[in-house]
């Protein structure tokens, strides 16, 4: 029976948290298909594949090379393609991170196979069936992938990691040496502690209701208190208050955190589309008729400049107590 291979992502030699999500999805799929889960880790020498058996990996390939510490698209794609072609794989699965979004289509092109990106669910029902939002989250496709293998990228936070003990035996693999058409020279402003809105399990977003860029301090403080990432509405990104990397919604990022705070955001259709798969939405807005309250699980109507500092204090108390 065909196996499932999870191509994992490391930063500074340490596997990213989303790797466990990808492995969990791969395990569920492989169990339904009657196959094994293999994992592939590409990174600098010293990168470890240990412990992946806890999340369902039967076998772990580690392709270590100091020249592969940063994501080098051509060599990463060549390495992964070689390993996929060398085995019996029905599905190749990655996380739809910045790396996964670039690597998945490279792999699918090299393998000459179909690709479904940013899926929120994947299952096996006589064939691989995925759900993936489209139209910026305003509609959802259910797709059957008929080729083998198929490449699938999984939206961060869409699958909760689950431990499932398997052998996780580690095997060294060779990193492809082929030509590099492009080179990742460096990663600027690296801040590995910074949470990305697309990956964070809690996101605190601010909008025009904050009135001035400086007032985002309130959002940053609340985000720090809940251990979340800072997000922003399109209006404040277009106004130059915040960087595009933080923008949530259409032409920004689609997020699926377990908790989303929308502060001073009225809820334009493009923003709502980007947060639809959040598990719990909290809205704070002075306008009781704002569309954001239609999708929020909990809302407080009133002055955010009074509510947010109080909320930050209360949450700090809870976290400390």
């Amino acid at each position: 029976m065909a196996n499932v291979i999870a191509v994992l992502e490391q930063r500074d030699g340490t596997l990213k948290r989303v790797s466990h999500e990808v492995l969990t999805a791969a395990r569920t799929l492989a169990d339904a298909m009657g196959g094994e889960v293999h994992a592939l880790v590409i990174g600098p020498s010293g990168v470890s594949g240990d412990g992946l058996g806890d999340y369902g990996a039967d076998k772990v390939f580690v392709a270590a090379d100091d020249a592969l510490a940063l994501y080098q698209s051509d060599r990463y794609a060549a390495t992964a393609a070689e390993i996929v072609q060398g085995g019996d794989y029905g599905v190749v699965i990655l996380s739809a991170t910045a790396m996964g979004k670039d690597l998945a289509p490279r792999l699918a092109a090299r393998l000459g196979c179909s690709l479904a990106t940013d899926v929120t669910a994947i299952q096996y029902d006589g064939g691989v069936v995925v759900t993936r939002p489209a139209y910026a989250g305003k509609a959802v496709y259910t797709l059957k992938l008929t080729g083998a293998p198929s490449v699938v990228s999984l939206r961060p936070n869409a699958v909760a990691p689950q431990e499932k003990a398997k052998a996780g035996s580690v095997e060294a693999a060779s990193a492809a040496s082929g030509p590099a058409r492009s080179t990742t020279a460096e990663v600027k402003q690296p801040d590995s502690a910074a949470l990305d809105v697309a990956e964070a399990s809690v996101v605190v977003s601010g909008g025009r209701g904050l009135k001035e860029a400086e007032h985002f301090k309130l959002i940053e403080d609340l985000a720090a208190a809940v251990g979340g990432a800072v997000g922003a509405s399109r209006a404040v990104v277009d106004a130059g208050w915040r960087s595009h990397a933080e923008q949530v919604g259409q032409t920004g990022k689609t997020v699926s955190p377990s908790l989303y705070f929308a502060v001073g955001i009225s809820g334009a259709i493009q923003h709502l589309a980007g947060i639809r798969t959040a598990k719990v939405i909290v809205a704070i807005n002075k306008d009781a008729d704002a569309p954001i309250f239609k999708v929020a699980d909990y809302g407080i109507v009133g002055d955010l400049f009074e509510i947010v500092p109080r909320l930050t204090e209360e949450i700090k108390k809870v976290k400390e107590g």
Binding site: S73, S114, D118, L259
Partner: protein, 250 residues
């Protein structure tokens, strides 16, 4: 510099999406279609590069229905020189057949640079540009927010989680544009008038079926009606209590 920009006709981001009678596609009735917003950044970047070089040609290429001619004309009105429509009655959800059709068109075009939007705002695949680069065996930087081209070389910046990746490559290359790359210009009236006279070639595209079957397209589940916990800062304790004990997310 000879630059190709691949574009797609998509529903306007303000459009309300309704599911069509076939349950596998949207109901296009009453929907306004536009040039994919990410493709606008790609067109703008091509025009800026051509202007900076003082000479060159910007060719717009699209795979789509007859109606995509209007989308190509929008890019021509912004200032591109000519267009090519690879006509296909229906374009499926598998990105590879589309990438193959584009790669076949671009292969012998002598392009120094091929630009795309990083994704199309309808299918959200984030795939076709990168695939075309792979098929043509060209360097590729995707989701780029800054691009410098000089002396036959390129240097691009792309946002990753918690940082900015700097990618270097030699031309010819493929680059896909993210928001932040530039501010796309609006077509001026003169540009719109001139666009009508610019050459637009229409060819039939041979798209293979691909390996993706649409089982259904649905509207996302409505979120359950929430509740207003209260008004003003006094409502904060009740909110925190609900998040802890009811939603269990704190």
């Amino acid at each position: 510099m000879k630059i190709a920009v691949c574009v797609k006709r998509v529903p306007d981001s303000e459009a309300r999406i309704k599911i069509g009678a076939d349950k596998t596609s949207i109901d296009e009735g009453g929907v306004k279609f536009v040039l994919n917003p990410y493709d606008e950044y790609a067109v703008e970047e091509a025009l800026k590069l051509k202007e900076a070089a003082g000479s060159g040609e910007v060719v717009i290429v699209s795979v789509g229905s007859e109606a995509a001619q209007e989308t190509i004309r929008t890019a021509l009105a912004m200032g591109a020189d000519k267009g090519v429509l690879l006509k296909a009655d229906s374009v499926g959800l598998d990105p590879l057949p589309v990438a193959r059709a584009l790669a076949a068109e671009l292969k012998d075009g002598g392009y120094d640079l091929v630009l795309f939007g990083k994704l199309a705002s309808d299918d959200y695949s984030h795939a076709v540009g990168v695939m075309v680069a792979e098929l043509l065996e060209l360097p590729c930087a995707s989701a780029v927010t800054k691009l410098e081209i000089a002396d036959g070389k390129g240097r691009a910046e792309r946002e990753i989680e918690g940082g900015v990746e700097v990618v270097e490559f030699a031309l010819p290359a493929v680059v896909t544009a993210d928001k932040g790359l530039n501010e796309p210009r609006y077509p001026a009236l003169r540009g719109i008038m001139m666009a009508k006279k610019k050459p637009l070639e229409v060819k039939d595209a041979a798209l293979d079926a691909g390996g993706i079957e649409v089982v259904q397209l649905t509207l996302p589940a409505e979120r359950k009606e929430g509740r207003i916990v209260g008004e003003g800062a006094d409502a904060v304790p009740a909110l925190v209590d609900a998040l802890r004990n009811e939603a269990k997310v704190l």
